[in-house]
């Protein structure tokens, strides 16, 4: 496991149609949150709303129809993107021979400093590393129960 989540789904629809659902704000609001407002262009500001939480600021980072769509979004609601920890969400669409489309999503950047103060407290720079949590968890799970404090 890196400091990222990767998931995949095979959609029984052509790539162009999947791209439309993936990137059209009115469609996005039906599968990601309850509202979505953005212009489909790199660098454009965006925001997504979950009624129970508020608006989450975002920025469109990459638009390469019909294969690649990427945005950075804030972890904290109702705050500018710059003032909140944020993660990067990258979608990749692949057309399959049988007419289906594979959608892969990678969300990354969970293991960065929530605040500059915390970064200072760590006195080191750890951008760009990988978190191999799964190896550690596997090791722990393999231990006899008595050996785990």
């Amino acid at each position: 496991m890196r400091d990222s989540i990767q998931r995949e789904v095979v959609v029984k629809a052509p790539q162009e149609r999947v791209w439309h659902v993936l990137t059209e704000p009115a469609q996005v609001a039906r599968w990601f949150g309850q509202r979505a407002e953005f212009e489909l262009r790199e660098g454009a500001p965006a925001r997504f709303r979950w009624d129970d939480y508020g608006w989450f600021s975002a920025r469109i980072e990459r638009v390469e129809p019909p294969t690649s769509f990427c945005f950075r979004w804030a972890e904290d609601p109702d705050r500018p993107l710059e003032d909140s920890p944020s993660t990067l969400v990258e979608f990749t669409l692949t057309a399959n021979h049988d007419g289906t489309t594979t959608v892969r999503v990678v969300e990354s950047g969970f293991a960065r400093f929530p605040t500059e103060r915390q970064r200072a407290a760590y006195e080191e720079h750890v951008d760009g590393w990988q978190l191999e949590l799964d190896e550690l968890v596997a090791l722990i799970d393999a231990l006899p129960e008595a050996a785990t404090p």
């Binding site: 599968w31 969300e107 550690l136």
Partner: protein, 125 residues
């Protein structure tokens, strides 16, 4: 009532601390050694590592701040004991996030295939 779109789940301070503490090869190595050998001293930990005893101490401090390690004083010796709950907690959080994405991708697939979200999954507006 219709199911709501699951809200985003930001990592808590605890998870952040765990991710950060494990963002370093040496600290992961140290934690693995502690898990394998149980509670041992910083000197014993440092013995066959290419880093100084002081560097090991600094890394152990970081692991302690993330509550992944606890120091135990026995006489004059301090032994470090691995604490696995925060690690499991972080792992569970990652699993929850993976499920959220599965739900979102499921709705996206349904929209692309049928033009509607599967009944029960439709987010309320």
């Amino acid at each position: 009532m219709m199911a709501r779109t699951p809200a985003p789940s930001a990592p808590s301070a605890t998870e952040h601390a765990v991710f950060l503490a494990l963002a370093d090869d040496t600290r992961r190595e140290l934690l693995e050694r502690l898990v394998r050998h149980g509670a041992i001293s910083a000197s014993a930990l440092a013995r066959d590592l290419p880093i100084t005893r002081q560097a090991v101490g600094k890394h152990l401090d970081t692991l302690q701040r993330a509550r992944l390690v606890r120091a135990h004083k026995t006489g004059r010796e301090v032994r470090y004991e691995p604490q696995l709950a925060p690690l499991r907690h972080a792992s569970t959080w990652m699993d929850g996030l993976a499920r959220q994405w599965d739900d979102r991708l499921g709705r996206l697939a349904s929209l692309a295939e049928t033009g509607t979200v599967t009944p029960g999954d439709e987010p309320s507006t």
